[in-house]
């Protein structure tokens, strides 16, 4: 994949614009909902600890759990396909579509299908693909990409959506969210009931029963998995937990952390296709288990990131995400989790600047329901980038000079004294407002406190003489 610009360049496009401002308002609101919901639930901290244990256990026993899961899906009459990468996943879904004469496909919101660019690949083969989550539907109509893991159009205003609907769906312009919502309901309802295939993601997979769990608030997840005659679920291979009881723990913390709800409106647990006597439900059930770089992540030192349950809480609290906007991260996953997942999955070679898209303030670790050490992982990735020669320009040289100065007392004293003199020349009332060359990277955005006119060691000496 080509990265047209760096994080900093993409962030510059986002900072201060209307979309990012809308996104920031949304992120702050979701953050307060999460905090209120957590404070309201006495068992929350205990649940978070348990959820973390469950996720780590699952990662450490992933091979066994996937084998069990796959056996159970097949036992319930479903089909399992193990896909090493995006191409294999896409090829399998196309094959199923072809063999079952599928023309129209509905999708419920799924980050993993965004990750493998599934829609474009299917559309290239004359399949009609319609996103059904209201936010994703808006994204699809406008040819945009999501800016938030769970609120994909947080960067759009109601006027944006009104203009889009009137242009693409031929309705009279309105920016009333209720009316826009009704327009989408009617438009999508017909599509749902005539679709041949439903493609969903998978929030949690349950090994002991071969079930997949989907949470949505709108009900499109239930429609996608029930109305069409074929259901295909695409799951990142790390989504699994051992039992239904484990899944319950994840569900308890997921909704509270994502939107501040106690449970999402629809928690949909699907086990195989419809059974004999079932009045409705799909005739075929397929699960695509996707690796796509995950086994490499698991083998690396950022493996803990695979414990993520995709709630988006770390985005909402991140000062960098809120200022720069989700699109600055350049890929499906944004915010602190994206800054770790994207380079881990796709390689540091092209994404080595993302681990620097953080001030390491630690708010993400605080918010994470499964307590993933995101700041620690970001540091590990920075270390990896530097050791692969992919660190920020000039960092190595600067550190070499600093090391030389800091390990030689004579040179250090000379340098600090020189700093004090030069500060006198350029500082105004104790602040340096502008520096030339590389120094401008700092002073373009904030003032630098001027170095003391007299260095610490000189003052220390004076004090000792006085006492």
């Amino acid at each position: 994949m080509n990265v047209p610009v760096t994080f900093v360049e993409r962030a510059h496009r986002g900072i201060g614009n209307r979309s990012t401002a809308a996104g920031e308002v949304g992120a702050r609101r979701m953050m307060s909902h999460r905090i209120a919901a957590s404070a309201d639930y006495p068992a929350m901290e205990e649940m978070r600890d348990q959820a973390r244990r469950i996720r780590l256990y699952a990662l450490g026993h992933l091979d066994e759990l996937l084998a069990r899961f796959s056996d159970e899906v097949e036992g319930a009459g479903g089909h399992v396909h193990f896909a090493a990468d995006a191409d294999e996943a896409i090829a399998y879904i196309r094959k199923v579509a072809e063999e079952t004469n599928v023309r129209r496909i509905v999708k419920s919101k799924s980050m993993v299908t965004e990750e493998i660019h599934l829609n474009a690949a299917l559309e290239a083969h004359d399949l009609e693909v319609v996103e059904t989550d209201l936010g994703e539907f808006i994204i699809q109509l406008s040819g945009d990409t999501p800016s938030h893991i769970i609120a994909p159009v947080m960067h759009k205003t109601r006027q944006d959506v009104g203009e889009l609907f009137s242009e693409k769906l031929g309705i009279e312009y309105t920016d009333d969210p209720t009316e826009l919502n009704n327009v989408a309901r009617h438009h999508l309802r017909e599509i749902f009931l005539s679709a041949d295939m439903g493609i969903s993601g998978c929030n949690v997979a349950i090994a002991e029963s071969g079930s997949i769990v989907l949470v949505t608030n709108e009900g499109n997840g239930r429609l996608t998995t029930s109305a069409p005659r074929i259901h295909v679920a695409v799951m990142g291979m790390e989504r699994i937990v051992p039992t239904l009881s484990d899944a319950a723990v994840i569900l308890e913390v997921l909704a509270r952390s994502a939107t501040g709800q106690r449970l999402s409106v629809y928690t949909n647990i699907v086990t195989g296709a419809r059974r004999p006597g079932d009045p409705d439900g799909p005739e075929e059930f397929h699960v695509v288990i996707l690796d796509n770089g995950r086994s490499r992540v698991l083998a690396g030192d950022a493996a803990e990131v695979l414990a993520c349950i995709r709630c988006g809480a770390c985005l909402n609290v991140c000062p960098v995400y809120r200022e720069a906007g989700g699109h600055a991260y350049g890929f499906t996953y944004s915010g602190p989790i994206g800054a770790v997942i994207t380079p881990s999955l796709m390689g540091l070679a092209e994404w080595h600047d993302l681990p620097y898209a953080s001030s390491l303030c630690g708010a993400c670790l605080d918010a994470c329901p499964v307590r993933i050490d995101l700041p620690g992982l970001l540091l590990k990735l920075r270390r990896d980038a530097v050791s692969e020669g992919l660190g920020p320009d000039g960092l190595e040289g600067a550190l070499k000079w600093f090391t030389r100065l800091a390990t030689n007392p004579g040179m250090w004293r000379g340098a600090t004294r020189a700093g004090g003199w030069s500060a006198k020349l350029i500082a105004r009332q104790g602040w340096i407002k502008s520096l030339p060359g590389r120094g401008s990277a700092w002073t373009d955005y904030r003032d630098l406190p001027a170095p003391a006119a007299k260095p610490f060691h000189a003052r220390w000496k004076e004090r000792q003489r006085e006492s």
Partner: protein, 221 residues
């Protein structure tokens, strides 16, 4: 990639992985310490808190009357209901005053499309529920013979009938007692309020794909 190669790749990754310490035994569920007393009140409160409507009735007669009133209130000329033996109110269909349409239950796969497009105009769906969850104000439903998924999904109004004795503290409590629930049905689902979205400027809207109105009728005693 075939299954064995895929799993082998995972296995070798785990061996060299730098994960934080892995629990040796499966952690399992965690049932929060919530009091059993007062679950009905808490349940009713929480359903209302997620924009559902609640009705506590003392008898089958009262339930039948209430459902008749609701059908009239929404101007429903027909409704889709679960089969009678899956509803906690005996002989509901026969006992309702005006019932132009009996329980519409889709049949074989052949009839699927016709049935499902036929549902688009349905105003009301009537279902039972396996459990009520007090902590979150949720109802648990299990699809199966005589229990179409669509009855709680397609209509604008969903009326769920629940026995008071089936109300429990929380999802974890229910699952602790029904560990096989996911394996027992092709679709186990938990509904917490009417369908909602806040995608456009985080403005709350009800009924985007699923029902806009959820009525939970609790049969006391």
């Amino acid at each position: 990639m075939n299954r064995e190669d895929f799993l082998e790749r995972v296995r070798s990754a785990i061996k060299v992985s730098e994960l934080p310490p892995i629990p040796e035994a499966p952690p399992g569920g965690l049932v929060p310490d919530l009091p059993r007393a007062g679950v009905t009140e808490r349940f009713l409160e929480q359903v209302e808190a997620v924009d559902g409507h609640t009705h506590l009735v003392g008898s089958d007669d009262e339930a039948v009357h209430l459902i008749g009133v609701l059908l009239e209130q929404y101007g429903a000329t027909d409704y889709l209901a679960w089969a009678p033996d899956h509803l906690p109110v005996a002989g509901l269909a026969e006992r309702l005053r005006a019932t132009p349409l009996d329980a519409v239950v889709p049949g074989d796969a052949e009839g699927r499309l016709e049935h499902q497009t036929g549902y688009t105009d349905l105003l009301v769906g009537i279902t039972g529920a396996s459990a009520g969850l007090a902590e979150s104000g949720s109802i648990v439903l299990e699809a199966g013979p005589g229990r179409p998924r669509m009855a709680s999904l397609i209509p604008l109004v969903h009326i769920a009938l629940l026995r008071e004795r089936d109300i429990t503290q929380s999802l974890s409590h229910w699952i602790a007692d029904h560990a096989e629930a996911a394996a027992d049905t092709s679709n186990l689902f938990i509904i917490t309020g009417p369908s909602r979205t806040a995608d456009i400027e985080q403005t709350l809207n009800l009924g985007v794909h699923g029902p806009k109105h959820l009525h939970v009728v609790v049969l006391g005693g």
